[in-house]
């Protein structure tokens, strides 16, 4: 029996506003418990919500960036349930009329090419507080600092068919919200959370199988493992003649398994109804066009432009536009190098990324600035140093030894290009190795590399390879 997985992702992105969605308390991470929970956030008797304009703009930005409809009229609804981190006993969310509807995003999965994933909707809602279960003997501590932080809940169509596709989608959305500067995407801090709805069905069947929901996965790696585990689990059950129970499950990263969550609510009857403390949100064309005008160049557009402008491959352009910061770094390097697109791409994706990864650094933490890197690339381009020597120079810049020129000067790494000087050295090498000369002249052309090597050794790698080749050929073949 061939099985097909059907996956939909629900992503909760915390919007990077300064204040909460319905109150003026701060959303800054890491404050002492309950020091950023004002009367509104605490749900004290008599308090009322007022909507944060920036949260609305950010949601609209997301809608425009995903080719979606930004609703001219959307309504806030109450989702009613009891839980200690939900102070009012209801969450203000959006139900029947969300702010964003029917968008899509294209993803690239290795070997598959481009695939369009539908975004059913995205809506605004408030986050709940946090529960702390340790430290309190038989009790749980509630911190409401996070209560009221704006969330954008992004719901995909069940268009994903594998864990890999799911990860690609999640990464794309992650990059997009950071590009738009509406979310910092920090999964450790909980600003970007993902729930997966997973079901399987026999290949060819139209009807969906029973699905389970896997909650609160907080890294790309875990998403992939959790989904794969769940798909296997479901297939095993179905092949064994059993039935899938529709339930919510938690992913356990240590054991790499999902297990059922103890239900928060027996019957999840949320009794949604429009929140009477808020009026319908109406956005006019002027507002939407204003948001559209403020959109930055989006990842896909930037990738396409890089391909054209710098002659990069789809893959390379994709890597360089994966994050806005990396793209900015790359372009600044190109500028500083005097327009060396491909060279900059190679170095950014190669040496630079290599060292960044090794030291666990993000591009924003690079000790080498675009100006420095570009400056060094200029020196490769103008022949001052060879590509090989450049590696040494780069490491020196990384370690804070100064700019390219300073390093080259200090370490005497200038490339030797003077034909006379090179000839002299070549002749010295030929003199020192008469047997190989004879062998070469006798037909062993492979020995050419040996001579090149010897010249390089004699010049500590500084001889210009092109010149060496040219002159060596000349002198070996009189």
């Amino acid at each position: 029996m061939e099985w097909e997985a059907v996956i939909g992702l629900e992503i909760h992105a915390q919007l990077a506003t300064r204040s909460k969605i319905f109150s003026g308390a701060s959303t800054a991470y890491g404050a002492e418990p309950n020091t950023q929970a004002c009367a509104v956030d605490l749900g004290l008797p008599g308090v009322l919500p007022v909507l944060n304009a920036e949260a609305v703009r950010m949601a609209a930005k997301f809608g425009l960036a995903t080719h979606a409809t930004v609703a001219k009229r959307s309504v806030f609804a109450r989702k009613n349930y009891f839980y200690p981190d939900l102070p009012k006993g209801y969450q203000i969310s959006q139900y029947e009329l969300p702010i964003v509807l029917s968008g899509y995003i294209d993803i690239d999965v290795d070997d598959e090419g481009s695939k369009r994933i539908g975004i059913t909707r995205a809506h605004l809602e408030e986050d709940a507080g946090k529960s702390l279960h340790e430290d309190f003997h038989g009790e749980t501590g509630i911190d409401l600092n996070r209560a009221g932080t704006p969330l954008l809940e992004i719901v995909s169509e069940p268009d994903l068919r594998s864990a890999k596709e799911a990860v690609a989608y999640m990464k794309k959305i992650h990059a997009l919200v950071r590009y738009l500067e509406i979310c910092d995407g920090n999964m450790q801090e909980g600003s970007f959370r993902c729930d997966a709805n997973i079901s399987v069905r026999p290949r060819g069947q139209e009807a969906f199988g029973t699905r389970t929901e896997v909650k609160n996965i907080n890294s790309f790696r875990f998403v992939e493992r959790a989904i794969n585990y769940e798909i296997e689990r479901q297939i095993d059950i179905l092949e064994g003649g059993g039935e899938i129970v529709q339930e919510t499950r938690l992913y356990d990263a240590d054991k790499n398994e999902t297990r059922p969550m103890r239900s928060k609510e027996e019957a999840n009857d949320y009794r949604y109804f429009p929140d009477p403390d808020l009026l319908p949100l109406e956005l006019d064309d002027a507002f939407i066009e204003d948001v559209r005008a403020s959109l930055p160049e989006l990842p896909d557009a930037k990738r396409d432009r890089f391909m054209e402008q710098y002659g990069l491959s789809h893959y390379d352009a994709g890597v360089l536009t994966a994050s806005r910061e990396l793209a900015v770094y790359f372009e600044a390097t190109v500028e500083a190098s005097g327009g060396e697109g491909k060279l900059s791409a190679n170095w950014v994706m190669g040496e630079l990324s290599g060292l960044l990864n090794k030291e666990g650094k993000d591009i924003t933490e690079s000790p080498v600035t675009p100006d420095q890197l570009g400056g060094m690339l200029k020196r490769i381009q103008d022949g001052t140093i060879s590509g090989k020597i450049a590696k040494q120079v780069f490491e020196a810049i990384w370690n804070g030894e100064g700019d390219a020129d300073a390093v080259i000067e200090k370490k005497g790494l200038k490339q030797i290009t003077d034909p006379a000087a090179i000839e002299k050295i070549i002749n010295e090498v030929l003199d020192k190795n008469p047997r190989q000369v004879e062998q070469y002249r006798g037909g062993q052309e492979k020995l050419f590399g040996f001579f090149v090597g010897q010249v390089m050794k004699a010049t500590q790698g500084k001889a210009n390879p092109g010149e060496v080749n040219k002159l060596l050929k000349k002198l070996l073949n009189p």
């Binding site: 009367a39 605490l42 749900g43 004290l44 008797p45 008599g46 308090v47 009322l48 919500p49 007022v50 909507l51 109450r78 009613n80 009891f82 200690p84 102070p87 009012k88 006993g89 209801y90 509630i142 019957a267 009857d269 009794r271 949604y272 109804f273 009477p276 403390d277 808020l278 009026l279």
Partner: protein, 484 residues
């Protein structure tokens, strides 16, 4: 002093006939001496009142006084008052000292008014007789065995008994107007959104409005001017300038078009109440108004629609009372569920629980369309009735309550009968229009109220009409014997 209206007291204070401190002490004594019979006050704030009175006296001396400077009033216990118990008539909030002030509280303090204390009310504003309060029922000063009406029963009773010249109330289905009628005083519920709901403990968010309860329309105009106004903390509060209500009180009523809905004068209306109301309307004819019959065809649907919408909204609004961050918490909860179930079970009274359950049911899966959605559609029909009527008339009038004050306990066992006390007032809240009740006579020694309903933001016209009526009648000056 306690017989004087706000307008008269303000004049006296400015003239130096007496000080605000003297006046305040007088009323505090009066309350201490007489409120035992009424049970209209839950918390007396003596020290705070005297301090405010002294501050008001200073402002009066400096010539920096407004119309309410130094005027004592009682505040319905639904409004948050910083550092002072705000119980909402419930055991759930018996220990709740509000950490902040409601906008209405702030505005009245800024106007220099002196808060004497917090008045009794039906629990969480749910009731029409003030019999559901955790602090015991309030009595009607006209007959201590009868109810004052509700939910602002404490405020109405206290003003009628001259324990204070004014009190604040709130009105969701009639809770200012109906007790005003049953106690023989003046009360106005402004247009929805006219007064800020910030700090006013929510019952039914799309229906609640705060308003003044006084003896005269002139006084109500003064209070409303201080209470009304835009507040950015309330999304449903309208940004619109407040009219100078006092300035238009004196306009003549010639040509005022009054509509009498035939549905308000039919079955269910006590004949004597009807007669008193007819007599009141005759006075308006004498003042030059034109009276015509109109129809509000969907009137009979108002009470059922209300009893879906209001419970639905309150079932959600009251979920925050869970024993976690404030208010009543049960002893030794054995787990989280127990904490919720017992704190709420013990903290809330029966009527509140009934309404929460009706509301929960109406919103629950499978019933939302049949109940909540349907009721909101009917609400549209009711509003359309009024909009159409106001194309032909300026003010709509009728009885405020179908009967005068009934006996304590008479309707307490039958919720539906109790609900029908609000039959004339409820539609006004559903439509969000302003409504007022003024004293219009007596039946067997019990007050009868005339209701005036206006178009959106037309409070000036209502106050003007009421004031003119009060110039040619004296019902509003009558005082219950025991409280003279």
């Amino acid at each position: 002093m306690h017989q004087k209206t706000i307008a008269e007291l303000a004049a006296g204070l400015r003239a130096g006939d007496f000080s605000s401190e003297e006046l305040t002490r007088h009323l505090l004594d009066r309350i201490s001496g007489l409120d035992g019979k009424l049970n209209s006050v839950i918390t007396l704030t003596e020290q705070q009142a005297l301090a405010a009175a002294r501050a008001a006296d200073r402002r009066l001396q400096e010539g920096d006084a407004g119309p309410l400077t130094g005027i004592p009033f009682l505040h319905k216990d639904i409004f948050c008052t910083r550092g002072v118990r705000t119980s909402c008539g419930s055991r759930m909030l018996d220990n709740f000292e509000a950490p902040y002030d409601a906008t209405v509280t702030e505005k009245l303090a800024a106007a220099g008014a002196v808060m004497l204390g917090k008045t009794n009310m039906d629990e969480f504003a749910m009731g029409s007789s003030n019999e559901t309060s955790f602090y015991g029922p309030v009595k009607n000063p006209w007959d201590l065995e009868r109810v004052p009406g509700g939910s602002s029963g404490g405020s109405a009773s206290a003003v009628a008994a001259r324990l204070a010249p004014a009190a604040t109330g709130t009105d969701t289905g009639g809770s200012i107007r109906q007790p005003a009628a049953l106690c023989g005083i003046t009360g106005i519920k402004p247009t929805y959104g006219r007064v800020s709901r910030w700090g006013m403990i929510a019952f039914a968010s799309s229906l609640d409005q705060a308003g003044p309860m006084t003896r005269t329309a002139e006084d109500a105009a003064l209070m409303l001017a201080a209470m009304a106004g835009f507040d950015e903390r309330d999304s449903t509060c309208i940004d619109r300038p407040v009219d100078d209500y006092s300035a238009s009180l004196g306009s003549a009523l010639n040509g005022l078009k009054i509509g009498l809905p035939k549905e308000y004068f039919g079955e269910g209306l006590d004949a004597s109440v009807g007669a008193a109301v007819e007599a009141a309307i005759d006075e308006f004819r004498k003042l030059g108004a034109e009276v015509k019959g109109i129809s509000l065809p969907n009137t009979s649907l108002a009470v059922p629609a209300y009893y879906v919408v209001a419970p639905a909204e309150c079932s959600s609004n009251l979920s925050r009372f869970d024993g976690v961050r404030f208010g009543y918490r049960c002893e030794n909860p054995k787990d989280l569920e127990d904490l919720y179930v017992r704190s709420r079970g013990e903290g809330f009274g029966a009527e509140v629980k009934r309404r929460i359950m009706v509301g929960t049911y109406a919103l629950s899966a499978g019933y939302y369309d049949a109940y909540y959605l349907k009721a909101q559609q009917v609400r549209q029909l009711i509003r359309d009735d009024f909009v159409k009527a106001f194309e032909d008339v300026d003010v709509i009038m009728g009885p405020t309550s179908p009967t005068p004050a009934f006996r304590l306990g008479e309707k307490a066992d039958d919720p539906v009968t109790m609900y029908l006390s609000d039959i004339y007032t409820i539609a006004v809240n559903l439509a969000g229009l302003p409504g007022m009740s003024i004293p219009a006579g007596f039946v067997d020694g019990l007050p009868v109220g005339l209701q005036l309903i206006g178009n959106y933001f037309d409070e000036s016209r209502l106050l003007n009409a009421a004031h003119q009526y009060q110039q040619v009648t004296d019902w509003h000056t009558r005082v219950p014997e025991e409280f003279k």
